[in-house]
Symmetry: C2
Subunit: 170 residues, 2 copies
DNA sequence: AAACTATGTCAGTATTATTGACTTTATAAA
DNA sequence: TTTATAAAGTCAATAATACTGACATAGTTT
């Protein structure tokens, strides 16, 4: 069992006693949990020629249907050239549709095709399943704490493009 | 503001109402928080010729001083060949020391040199700072929830090498 | 007409990972 | 003691994901 008691030694805080060791434990927890978190989709993606980058693209196109290429670039925080390869594959393989913008014809709105939605389902099913069972096992209060800490961790990181996501999340 | 209220619609649970959308929010939260979580060290590492792989190696060598090469391979879940390049650099650059095992001379025990500890400090300072301020802002109950959910997420992922870490964490 | 914007693409490079094959050294087992 | 196994290290080839820089095309603004 892992110790959740946070009443320890080294450096003091207004509310918490946070030793370097406890903080390092939190850091490792993030590392291993993220690894566990991506392992299911990674396995599925091996059956295709796709990787995590494709997963992310498919995820956000599904979450923000019709988003522009630039939106996706902002969210992912990668370069146009990096996204291009991934997006081109997904479009050629018929998983993503790129429609010319209605008002501004320079823009492309991205959508998942039926096949694209099928892949998205397959990937997110695995991840949601893990998330749901973790939430269940931990209980509602823990879930609130989990979300709160994660939000604090990414504070300052959500400046540009991702702030749109945060709004959408609400 | 982000909504923490978890009393919603779609699918029912013994304790929680968890809609697909709420689960997807949790998934995105993990993605963005992990990104925020690695951004500080990534910036520092750019000043060296190192990347995240070096950071991970340095982190775990510091946390489990004297660990064997095989231990590190198990923890990181990568191949010997992948680790080798990283480890060779760190050893050549004088950040890591590899000592022949005392009982079993085939084994190598890994340690950080003074310079290695200096780098480790620099990297973990940034990360601990972020972690500490997130913990502070969220409060003790939230921290417990955060840890509990993360542990549940990685359940089943900590089978082999990482179970040692979990023990160490305790 | 000129400037700017959104998208797409080509070429070259870097990091991190993979698989497979092989060596050296050391321990364990027959 | 020979044989087998184990730990570590290395070489070569390949893949996925990212980067920078340069440039093209189409459409919108000024």
């Amino acid at each position: 069992m892992v110790d959740h008691n946070l009443t320890a030694s080294n450096s003091m805080d207004a509310m918490l006693f946070l030793t370097d060791d406890q903080l390092l434990q939190g850091i490792e927890l993030m590392y291993f949990a993220y690894k566990g978190f991506t392992s299911d989709p990674d396995l599925i993606l091996q059956n295709y020629t796709y990787g995590r980058a494709h997963h992310r693209a498919v995820h956000f196109i599904n979450r923000r249907k019709g988003l522009k290429v630039n939106d996706l670039l902002d969210i992912l925080g990668i370069t146009k050239q990096s996204l291009n390869r991934v997006l081109r594959q997904l479009i050629n393989d018929g998983l993503v549709e790129s429609r010319v913008g209605r008002q501004d014809k320079r823009e492309r709105n991205l959508f998942l095709t039926d096949d694209g939605e099928k892949l998205e389902r397959q990937l997110s099913d695995a991840q949601r399943k893990r998330m749901r069972s973790a939430y269940r096992a931990a209980g509602p209060d823990a879930v609130m704490g989990f979300r709160l800490v994660l939000e604090k961790i990414m504070d300052g990181e959500m400046q540009r493009g991702s702030i749109k996501i945060k709004e959408k999340l609400t």
